[in-house]
């Protein structure tokens, strides 16, 4: 599946997107931590850290590591604060 980075996660990752295989959000986050150590820790106490958001296909926001993913999903990783 495609993973897109926006905001601070993009700054940290150094790329805007990449392809990964994962069945759950937890697997995906763990893979990202390993593949892109510059991202820093994404998971805290088993969940996505509060300074990040994950969105499935831009439609819904998810943080539960058990969230099922399909190959056609696009997962967005973005900064949590949308204040302007």
């Amino acid at each position: 599946m495609r993973v897109e980075f926006l905001g601070i996660p993009r700054e940290r990752a150094g790329v805007s997107e990449l392809e990964l295989d994962a069945d759950t959000l937890g697997q995906l986050l763990t893979s990202l931590e390993q593949k892109l150590p510059s991202l820093g820790a994404l998971v805290d106490s088993g969940r996505l850290k509060p300074s990040f958001l994950a969105s499935l296909n831009g439609d819904t926001f998810v943080s539960d590591p058990r969230t099922r993913l399909s190959k056609s999903d696009c997962v967005l990783i973005l900064s949590a604060d949308a204040g302007g």
Binding site: G7, I8, R10, P50, L53, G83, G84
Partner: protein, 586 residues
């Protein structure tokens, strides 16, 4: 009780405000009872109380007798990070409802050192003047030579003229000409929304200069220093990384990806050229520096140069970027930066400027406004329009009154897509794709507002389906509105909000350390609701009716282009607003 006796019993406050009549130079130092301070704190809360005391709701916004208040807070001058802020509160000439704008930096500290918790001005000076307040002593100084000067030029000239220690808040040419969304500027920042610059201009005041030596005592100074140090350390953490590293402008690509970036007068939620004007891109083509307000450890300001010889730069925020970029269809970074700086120089709110110009561009496109040069996508046209607005020349005179007023003049039912609520132009959050925010916009006391309602935070979370609002949205909208009211009254920067696990409890801690009050978190919830209620009371007295709490027809009759799921019906919004009023007890 004399004011001096009141202040002697208080920590964090002077217990008094200066009431200045610019018509005749009369100055009164009036006491504020501790019970009032406990009920309304400072900033927007105390400002609302002052305006109600003055009976300002029934007065025309630009009438000489209309008051405008510069209001400080118990935290101003303390070592708490981001606390150097002040509120400017008046009736808005744009909405005819209450308006409270915030700005930051040294003016707040110097103003409070004049020995007052607020400076309230009525009347109209005989000629264009600067109001000089030197440690509580007040005089008017001729400022005719500054007529037409930009905000920054006026501030620089007055600093040179008056000497060391003065902090200046000034208006630009737009404020002098009563542009209904003119700003008041200080140190490059603006009390931006709702036209407070026009109110100051209507008093023939080009600027206010303050300096003083009167400091407040803190109730628990040692503990306060320790708490402040710890808060500053927390402010360096991940909750503020976005502001520090990229600035608010980093919203642009995120919002575009989610399809909620208002584009071409809210006709679309995506903009093809978004990447070209994103901070991630323009930092490669424009040199950048960072800055911060006085007493701030976040440093959210990202200042971009325009051209090689530019040593001044322009501070670029998301709201300016969206309004002068996608909203007007402009994908030229140079044009957006130049337009933003022009607004800063002229003293014009970028959101209302962009919203009103985008509205006009759509009217031109439909053949309802005969200004063929004013087309979507033209950066030159946008800049020309801003210049005309600031001078109130040609079509600029029409647009200087905002999109609602322009729509009434243009007709053809164009009010359906004038991007405003209560006359105030909508910030950069597409309501159909962010429906908790849609409710927040609709019920906003000063009009469409992302600073008095942070409901977008909920839309960017798992708590709701952002494109299908349920009645849960009401609770969330109230929660974020109450929290904003407390933050804006304390006053402390909202960019810190992610740092607090339990803001109300920490706010109670801050008040205990500064003012010595043992307020509980529950009491501060009540305080927040009281402040929202005071603003509502002002609006009721000013003629508010429930019908104002809505959105333009465009948002209620059309799905968002390219996103059929982003649809909000009139019946849905009416039900949400009705439930909001019920839960508020209104």
């Amino acid at each position: 009780m004399p004011a001096a006796d009141v202040s002697a019993t208080l920590f964090g406050y002077h217990g008094a405000y200066l009431r200045i009549d610019a018509s005749n130079g009369r100055v009164d130092r009036l006491p504020i009872a501790e019970t009032v301070l406990r009920q309304f704190l400072g900033g927007v809360g105390l400002g609302a109380w002052l305006l109600l005391e003055e009976g300002a709701a029934a007065t025309a916004a630009l009438a000489p007798e209309a008051p405008i208040a510069f209001v400080f807070s118990p935290l101003v001058g303390s070592p708490l990070t981001t606390s150097a802020k002040f509120a400017v509160v008046s009736k808005s000439p744009l909405t005819n409802r209450i308006n409270d704008s915030l700005a930051s930096s040294g003016f707040a500290i110097a103003g409070k050192r004049c020995g007052c918790d607020a400076i309230l001005i009525v009347g109209r000076a005989a000629a264009l003047s600067t109001l000089v307040i030197d440690d509580g002593h007040v005089r008017l100084q001729a400022a005719e030579d500054l007529r037409g000067a930009s905000c920054g030029a006026a501030e620089s000239a007055l600093k040179s003229r008056l000497g060391a220690g003065y902090e200046i808040a000034s208006i630009g040419p737009a404020g002098e000409r009563a542009v209904r969304y003119a700003t008041i500027s200080h140190d490059g920042r603006h009390a931006g929304r709702g036209g407070s610059g026009a109110v100051l201009g209507s008093k023939n005041l080009k600027a206010i200069a303050v300096r003083g030596t009167q400091r407040c005592e803190w109730a628990h100074p040692r503990e306060l220093a320790q708490y402040s140090k710890a808060l500053s350390a927390r402010s360096f953490g991940p909750a503020t990384a976005k502001y520090r590293e990229l600035g608010t402008a980093s919203n642009l690509l995120t919002f575009n990806r989610l399809g909620v970036l208002p584009t071409r007068n809210f006709q679309s939620g995506t903009f093809d050229a978004a990447a070209d004007i994103s901070p991630e891109e323009i930092r490669h083509t424009h040199s950048k520096t960072r800055a911060s307000c006085v007493a701030c450890t976040i440093g959210c300001e990202h200042i971009y140069s325009i051209g090689e010889d530019d040593d001044k730069g322009v501070r670029l925020e998301y709201e300016s970027l969206f309004a002068l970029g996608p909203l007007c269809g402009v994908g030229d970074a140079d044009a957006v930066l130049r337009a933003s700086r022009l607004c800063d120089d002229m003293g014009i709110d970028t959101i209302s400027a962009g919203g009103t110009i985008a509205f006009a561009m759509e009217c031109v496109e439909r053949g309802w406004l005969d200004e063929p040069w004013l087309s979507f996508g033209s950066g030159d046209a946008m800049i020309r329009a801003i210049e005309l607005i600031a001078r109130r020349e040609g079509v600029g005179d029409l647009l200087a009154d905002g999109s609602r007023s322009a729509a009434e003049a243009i007709g053809h039912g164009s009010i359906a897509f004038a991007p405003q609520v209560k006359g105030m132009e909508i910030p950069g959050y597409e309501p159909r794709g962010l429906q908790t925010m849609a409710l927040g916009f609709a019920v906003g006391g000063r009009g469409a507002d992302h600073n008095r309602s942070g409901a977008y935070e909920v839309d960017f979370s798992e708590r709701v389906d952002r494109r299908h609002a349920t009645m849960d949205a009401v609770r969330y909208a109230i929660e974020t509105e109450d929290k904003a009211a407390l933050m804006d009254s304390l006053v402390i920067c909202k960019f810190l909000r992610g740092v607090f696990d339990d803001f109300y409890s920490e706010a109670a801690d801050m008040l205990r350390l500064v003012a010595g009050w043992d307020a509980s978190a529950d009491e501060l919830h009540d305080t927040a609701r009281r402040i929202v209620g005071a603003k509502r009371q002002f609006n009721l007295l000013a003629g508010w009716t429930p019908a104002e709490d809505t959105l333009p027809d465009r948002f209620l009759e059309q799905a968002l282009e390219g996103d059929a799921a982003a649809r909000l019906s009139r019946e849905q919004l009416d039900a949400l607003v009705g439930e909001y009023h019920r839960q508020r007890g209104w």
